[in-house]
Symmetry: C2
Subunit: 707 residues, 2 copies
Amino acid sequence: MTSEDVLTALKSLKIYAATIAHDTTPNAQAWREALLSHSTPFILSKTLAFKPKTPKSDTPVLILVVALESTDTNAAAVNKVMNVKDSRFATPELVKDRLGVAPDDVSPLSITSANASAIRVALDSKLVTSAKPIAFHPSASNKTVFLTSAQLQNYLESTGVEVVTAEFSAATLALVASSEATKASSKKVKEDAKIEGAALIGIDVKKEQDFPNWYRQVLTKGDILDYYDVSGCYIMKPGSYHIWETIQKFFDGEIKKLGVENAYFPMFVSSKALEKEKDHVEGFAPEVAWVTRAGSSDLEEPIAIRPTSETVMYPYYAKWIRSHRDLPLKINQWNSVVRWEFKHPQPFLRTREFLWQEGHTAFLTEKEAMEEVYTILDLYRQIYEDLLAVPVIKGIKSEKEKFAGGLKTTTVEGFIPTTGRGIQGGTSHCLGQNFSKMFGITVEDPKFNGEGEKPKLHVWQNSWGITTRTIGVMIMTHGDDKGLVFPPRVANTQVIVIPCGINAKVTDDDRNAVEYRISRIVSDLCAVGVRAKSDMRDLHSPGYKFNHWELRGVPLRIEFGPGDMKKSQVLSVRRDNGVKTPIALSNVEIEVPKLLETIQSDMFIKAKTVFDSRIKQITEWEKFVPALDSKNVVLVPWCERDDCEDNIKERSSRQPDDTAVDEKAPSMGAKSLCIPFDQPEGIVKGKMKCVACNQDASVWCLFGRSY
Amino acid sequence: MTSEDVLTALKSLKIYAATIAHDTTPNAQAWREALLSHSTPFILSKTLAFKPKTPKSDTPVLILVVALESTDTNAAAVNKVMNVKDSRFATPELVKDRLGVAPDDVSPLSITSANASAIRVALDSKLVTSAKPIAFHPSASNKTVFLTSAQLQNYLESTGVEVVTAEFSAATLALVASSEATKASSKKVKEDAKIEGAALIGIDVKKEQDFPNWYRQVLTKGDILDYYDVSGCYIMKPGSYHIWETIQKFFDGEIKKLGVENAYFPMFVSSKALEKEKDHVEGFAPEVAWVTRAGSSDLEEPIAIRPTSETVMYPYYAKWIRSHRDLPLKINQWNSVVRWEFKHPQPFLRTREFLWQEGHTAFLTEKEAMEEVYTILDLYRQIYEDLLAVPVIKGIKSEKEKFAGGLKTTTVEGFIPTTGRGIQGGTSHCLGQNFSKMFGITVEDPKFNGEGEKPKLHVWQNSWGITTRTIGVMIMTHGDDKGLVFPPRVANTQVIVIPCGINAKVTDDDRNAVEYRISRIVSDLCAVGVRAKSDMRDLHSPGYKFNHWELRGVPLRIEFGPGDMKKSQVLSVRRDNGVKTPIALSNVEIEVPKLLETIQSDMFIKAKTVFDSRIKQITEWEKFVPALDSKNVVLVPWCERDDCEDNIKERSSRQPDDTAVDEKAPSMGAKSLCIPFDQPEGIVKGKMKCVACNQDASVWCLFGRSY
């Protein structure tokens, strides 16, 4: 923005500041001289733009160091203060791109709410405590505006930019004290989290004490995911892809019974189609990836990669649906979509490309549409509860949290006990007639019997989707300090048979007999549909193999050796709870499938008990934040108003002096997760008050910090 | 390029032309004056840049009108001459981007072999016939070069740019005579192709006479595909996606038996990874789509969308494969890839995004790798022959045609009889150790028994893929003038039952009885695994329904009415050959599945007979081009040399005076399709000569014009 814009912006914030014009000042000396005529005392500032090392695929964040001209700042200090690596002076192109001005003209006043998200500010603590007005260039070096420290901070706050206050002391480069303290305490926790003597191949931190690190290790050491050189993208290895295939097989079979057919629409969307529905595109635009070049030629117009397919598909629905006889139209696709989020990415939970299915259906009536919404939502519940052994709560989203452009969003909400945060598990939307109006999807009213042309009806539409996030929720729910724990129904290997007790004293004959018997156990189990295999590697000890397969989450281990042979039994060891039970050799094909089903249901019950215990039903605001801080979600009487939801979010965010154990926890507050279908008791209008604003409550609503 | 570059280029082509420098000439008048001092007669040219209307997703082609200054040119004339729509003057940005010069400085000499592919030239016929030297600006308006018409044409030819000679007569805007004649004769054929009295819902052209139009109609009216608003991308509707699901189910089951596991790698590739293998990236780079922007932020470095996943996956193979015990590694993925081709796109056959599977495996030895290559290739043959009833020929690709960066490419080659062109059906590559060397995928030699460190072995790799092109080949092979013809094994609906003979004379009781019996026929067929349904719509006549389902390719129709009821029979009508056979009601569940299998095998035999009859085994060059021109492929003794292949291509291209019936036929010549595994007879070295160059032949090779 121009310097005029800056001054206008200051005025609109009621920041009244002296401003003078002078010759262009190419350096501090010239600037100081230009200001000498000014009668009040002042102090010069400087604003330096740095770029830290950024993964190539990431949009680089610009760091603006805003300091007194006299403060000694340098890249090393910036790295330390901002917790980044290899900062360098930003190129003029990058500065121009982010702030619209040349590096010489940059000032904190170049930051606006429009560009703030890609900028971080390191604010010199000496500047903060300065008593004198500070001189800044308002985006041009031929003007100066004098701001007090408080005025500057007000301005920065108005833009929403992240500000870190820093002591640029050449001697220590220390962070300000409070921040340092947080870091030290967090470091201590991480040291406690280290598991003593953890096997080299195993997880070396505890889930409860260093959850982010645990999650990374459990995925990579458990051999189901690898990190990738494009940020926010991950490799799904066979171990996790198999779970997705299991979910696909179940869900695909169920929707085909409902008359849904699969199709494939292109991954590319023209900007014209993408922008057709206004609310919808506003919801997705900031995250859309654009293809602008093919080979070495620029495309005449950039093409978007679908973030979802409403606007890809509905122009064609308008063409295909000609009569009420074409209804219902029920199409699904299994594909990947791209949402280039700038938030912290996390494997499975938040990735820039993810796999999902998206169903898009059209009906003549609202009633039919809503019936399908609920049917699909229950299939999503079944995926979580019956396949993944993960409990969820079915409910409806608040107006604020519903799908952009839709009418009603129903959801299955999950819960990650270790962080106490809710997580959206899958959503089934009734889009109402909003999209059919935008895209002109109409049929003639079949019930119209009057004269003249039949009136047009806009169809009722649904869309519904579930993603590979399912896998992340499952892993976070069941995994333990030894690694992954897979529910039997989705485990690629359900049973691993390991030879034991084969030492130097064992004769070759006995060894052969054990090996033969093991191969029979495996083939007998496979014959009854159990996914079993053996680990006959000579290279490794039984103990090593136990760790190896525990890490990978195999639900049941069977140990078998010469001693077992004599007793005609095997020893089964459950992954979920470590319980060891001998099973008669003759009963293996009967007992093992039963045991797997028991494990499946025990895992669900265990997870459900935890989730239930973490839903705090409360009616007083005083208990709201403490409940969240104790890693719960809360079920509260609520008025369903948007501004009350905003207010709850604000009032439940962490305070600046909060030294949270989980550094990655969001500083933002709680949001509504869902209004559960299963309401604890009827809310009588006028009798029960909203937990936050004391107006009449209309529902019980689940609130929580969330992913 | 600069004007110096232009003059150098002319010299290198041995085009010696007078050149003079003068003041910059902003218009024709100034130019004429600047040249007055020049002693020889000359005539001024003008070069105008137009851009026709272009689908937003396409790279726009620039049209350069090169004319005498006095010729009356305008956009309407350009549209007509170049067969495009809505041409306008190109923006200065576009001209600069394509030619590197400002519009005022443009001349035909701005065209180079590097930019020629995105340019078309409309050459004024008056200029062509000009006896005087013609004045051109060599990419700058302060210089003039004088060229004869022949010199100019030589220059243009050297760049490879497309040149259309045109009469810009204000009166007629007619094309030059020869071009006009071609068009007229082609128009006549198209009129013949119209099917007299074709039902409104049906295909209204004949397959043999207007194949491109027939193909478009059969896809859209057959309800399996729709055109999309991003060029080169298409919507696979349930009718075609079901075929893909059938292929997936078969192939996925087979490769899992071979120990292949599915995984999912990201669709994005960093440029660093993409460019790691040089030959490979050269093969794909011109077609790579680049994401450069997310939301409103430019990415620091563009990210490619995978055109294939070798370079996506192999850096991780290097990490995962640590020991010979990690081998073989066999991973497959079902995904979509993007190749932004600039050739004429065609649904299923050549699309910018397409669905496929790509298998990537690693072995310790070449022997194991090659075994898998052949096993997979035979699965591809089975997909074509056993599922799609499409004959293919298995063989190996020539060095010129093999996969970029690979060692050996095996292929199943198909054939489209209507155009007489070959088509690559699916490829299974042995990559050798090339990629493992580039990406450092090594294991220690397990056989090494010497002292010291074990030597490293580079693994042997394969990659193999088959795409949705399969569906296009199938449709082109079997479809007829009535629409699609699906082989029963891949048809979503195998049997359609249609009530017949229900007219005003039929009693309600009889009508109800027919309807009830039809519902039983359908349920009985479904019970024995036949995908059957009925069409009970009141709205339409049986005749309309016959057309409707014939268009959609349903393999078998069953007609049933009051008359059939009396005779306790149904009437079956085969889609493939129209044969009608009554079947006793009591035998329907037995006879229909048998009949479907007969249809499947008859369709294959029919297609195979045609293909076999179109493979001409010849040994004399004189018969080569005539055989191609009669819509055959040729099996010839060949020397396997690259330059001989180039030579064959050149010698078999169409001549300029060739007025081909199929306008879309490639003007390029034949290429090698494959060296069939099944060689007609041993070639004894020295005995048999290459069909083209008369050197010793080493193999029988299949050549043809191809897709």
